[in-house]
């Protein structure tokens, strides 16, 4: 394929790259205790929250940025980032959608996430987070009738301080790593979900994260609690404008599943990946962990990662309850100069616990894609099982795939299975497809979608189609 047409395709491919022209209020770049105090004040937070933040900040100061992942990037200057940015129009907290700035609603329309009553996605409640704040949450009434709490994190801090105090930081401790300490100090907004005992959440819940402002970091925090015998399916989506500078996104997600509860957490991550020369794009450094605290509980992570310049994330499960189940289904696509180091951790503590890992890594262009996964079966986790399937697909000859499995089986009644394959889309395969009249892009898409089918099947139906389309766009021009 001629260079020109590749460039054209890549130029076209990120259709979420626009900026919304809203007046926003941003903190000047810089991080210190005053900034954190100002942030907390801005959000009118109770005292306990500020203390919690400052404690995290003090710890963060003692930490070094991790460098063990299979990724490379220039050092981040944390004093050069603004830690708060919000559209001004959102200042007096709109009470209903009618009061939300039309420009913001328009932004979500353009992103394919209409918020207003008429056009909403049927059966999906959306919390829309724009830079550091949540601008709207749909279907509030229907959810509250079922007893489900689904609101911006900053609202939950006021309305449900007891739940926050009880669960915040109990799955991902502040001190877990460099980025969790940073997030705990400066997190801006995110979603809070509580499903009461015995309730099956009547609809899909979804948060849509959008970075708009320049030079800001996004540090969201999501906390989902599924009380005994409850069920919830939650999905997050992410996009950002195209800019030449890199932007940092360091989120923390905590899930708690109590006895017999099930949480299904899906991610379609499509942050701006940077251009074909690796200029710009989001640094996606995220810590996600679920705690199967009760017996028979289940947490399932499904992720489709197509965006970001660098992805560093390992959605994990702590299988504490007996008979609890953890699952991780992942498709990670890297093209051009993108880098991804992603995978999962399954920590088996309870007896008869079970985990399944299916990871599909796709590399094209000059991209690097690494799977890193830990399976640890503790001595007391008798009769536990893990099955890991880890497949890589290479498109072209300048990209790389790497697999780093860490396996620790500490009792003899448990079984750990690991399978890995690497395959390549070859010129011969493409020639064969073309001889049958199928164009190169279509051929690549068909092969890739076949490769990912197992994971797509796990996504909520509303999003499976979107994910497939997204993947096709991400790989446009992948074969040179």
């Amino acid at each position: 394929m001629a260079n020109e047409s590749i460039n054209k395709l890549i130029g076209d491919r990120y259709k979420y790259g626009f900026t919304t022209d809203v007046e926003s209020e941003s903190f000047p770049p810089g991080l210190n205790e005053d900034v954190i105090t100002a942030l907390s004040k801005k959000k009118k937070e109770p005292e306990f929250m500020l203390e919690w933040r400052l404690k995290a900040y003090k710890h963060w100061l003692t930490l070094e940025e991790p460098d063990w992942a299979h990724i490379g990037y220039p050092k981040i200057d944390y004093q050069d980032i603004s830690y708060y940015s919000a559209p001004k129009s959102n200042e007096d907290k709109p009470q209903s959608l009618d009061e939300v700035d039309p420009k913001l609603l328009e932004t979500y329309d353009k992103l394919g996430i209409p918020l207003h009553e008429r056009a909403r996605l049927a059966g999906v409640a959306v919390d829309a987070v724009f830079d550091s704040v949540s601008v709207a949450t749909t279907f509030k009434k229907k959810l509250s009738e079922a007893g489900v709490i689904f609101c911006p994190f900053s609202e939950a801090v006021h309305k449900y301080p007891e739940l926050i105090k009880k669960y915040l930081g109990t799955v991902v401790p502040q001190r877990d790593n460099f980025f969790t300490a940073l997030n705990s100090a400066v997190f801006s907004d995110g979603s809070f979900v509580y499903i009461p005992k015995g309730v099956r959440c009547p609809m899909e819940l979804s948060t849509y994260f959008r970075i708009n402002a320049e030079n800001t970091g996004q540090f969201e925090r999501t906390l989902i609690i599924a009380d005994e015998d409850s069920y919830v399916s939650y999905l997050e989506g992410c996009t950002a404008p195209m800019r030449d500078e890199n932007q940092l996104h360091a989120a923390v997600v905590e899930l708690v599943a109590l006895k017999n509860a099930e949480i299904k957490y899906s991610t379609v991550q499509n942050w701006y990946p940077g251009d074909e020369n690796g200029r710009g794009g989001i640094y996606n450094f995220v810590t996600k962990r679920g705690d199967c605290r009760g017996s028979n509980s289940k947490i399932s992570w499904t992720q489709v990662e197509t965006g970001s310049a660098i992805t560093w994330k390992y959605p994990s499960c702590i299988l504490r309850g007996d008979h609890s189940i953890g699952e991780f289904y992942s498709v990670a696509v890297t093209n051009n100069k993108q880098q991804a180091d992603t995978g999962t951790k399954m920590i088996h503590i309870g007896k008869n616990t079970k985990s399944t890992i299916v990871s599909k890594g796709i590399s094209a262009g000059a991209a690097q894609n690494a799977y890193r996964g830990l399976v640890r079966i503790m001595p007391q986790a008798k009769n536990s099982r893990n099955h890991t399937q880890c497949d890589s697909l290479l498109i072209g000859k300048d990209c790389g795939a790497h697999t780093f499995p860490y396996i620790e089986g500490k009792n003899s009644s448990s079984i750990i299975e690991h399978e890995a394959t690497t395959s390549k889309i070859s010129e011969d395969q493409l020639f064969y497809c073309k001889q049958r009249g199928i164009g190169e892009e279509d051929a690549v898409n068909m092969i890739v979608n076949g490769f990912c089918k197992e994971v797509f099947k796990k996504l909520p139906m509303e999003f499976a189609v979107e994910a497939e389309a997204l993947l096709n766009v991400s790989l446009e021009g992948a074969v040179g």
Binding site: Q429, F431, K434, Q435, G437, M446, I447, G450
Partner: protein, 246 residues
């Protein structure tokens, strides 16, 4: 319909075809024989348009147009089908999904309506049954794990489904057991018509007992050194290429 005039091609700067000419009209069956490495598969690849095969001299007319101006996909959609000597495996890509995409790519090109999944499945089931291929093949990956003979039968299956105007079958008979050979020959004979042309590349007279050629050509060192009717094939079977044509 197809007029190959004095073509020269090279792969990685090695000359492979050296002034090959061949004219084919609708309704005709041409058999091409010749020693290993003489350039038979290269000819098939040149007709398909594979990028590695550079045509340095000569021209090819197809249905009155310059074939070399068309991309690989366009040639296919315009009715050129190549049954490969070594069909490639595409694991994970479902056979029937692949074939339906192929049929619809052609239909789209011809500005015809796409074939629905239901119609496709009906046609696929009927065709596959005629070729005595197990139905389960439809749901497997393209050629994935197929035996040598199964791959060849799959090529004929695809040919039948796509219904091209000219079929170039590169050693479709090699690796087939005697029953499979008969089935494949039957498939090709059913495909044969007034309006279609067939090029059979083969090493064995045996195939020509089932599919009767109008012409037999001997390819050696990248050009056709002798042409005749089917008796030429019979002679070659006895004498081999060594004493021939020199």
């Amino acid at each position: 319909m197809l007029n190959i005039k004095n073509i020269h091609t090279s792969i990685n700067e090695t000359k492979i075809l050296n002034g090959l000419s061949l004219e084919i009209s609708p309704g005709e069956v041409h058999a091409i024989m010749g020693p290993n490495g003489s350039g038979k598969s290269t000819l098939a690849k040149v007709l398909a348009g594979q990028d590695d095969c550079e045509v340095t001299e000569g021209e090819i007319q197809y249905k009155g147009e310059n074939l070399l101006d068309l991309s690989i996909e366009e040639r296919s959609r315009e009715g050129i089908f190549v049954g490969f000597q070594y069909p490639v495996e595409i694991p994970g890509l479902n056979n029937s999904q692949f074939l339906r995409a192929s049929i619809n790519a052609k239909r789209k090109h011809k500005e015809e309506e796409e074939m629905s999944a239901v119609d496709f499945l009906k046609l696929a089931r009927e065709t596959i049954e005629k070729l005595e291929i197990p139905q389960t093949f439809l749901n497997r990956g393209v050629n994935e794990g197929f035996s040598g003979g199964e791959k060849k039968r799959n090529e004929i299956f695809q040919m039948t489904m796509l219904n091209p105007e000219i079929a170039i079958l590169d050693e479709t008979d090699s690796g087939l057991d005697i029953d499979a050979l008969k089935i494949v020959a039957k498939g090709v004979n059913e495909f044969k018509s007034e309006s279609k042309a067939i090029i059979l590349i083969t090493h064995y007279q045996r195939l020509l007992d089932y599919i009767e050629p109008d012409y037999v050509h001997v390819l050696s060192n990248g050009k056709i050194i002798e042409s005749g009717d089917k008796s030429l094939a019979q002679r070659l079977e006895q004498t081999g290429y060594k004493d021939d044509g020199e």
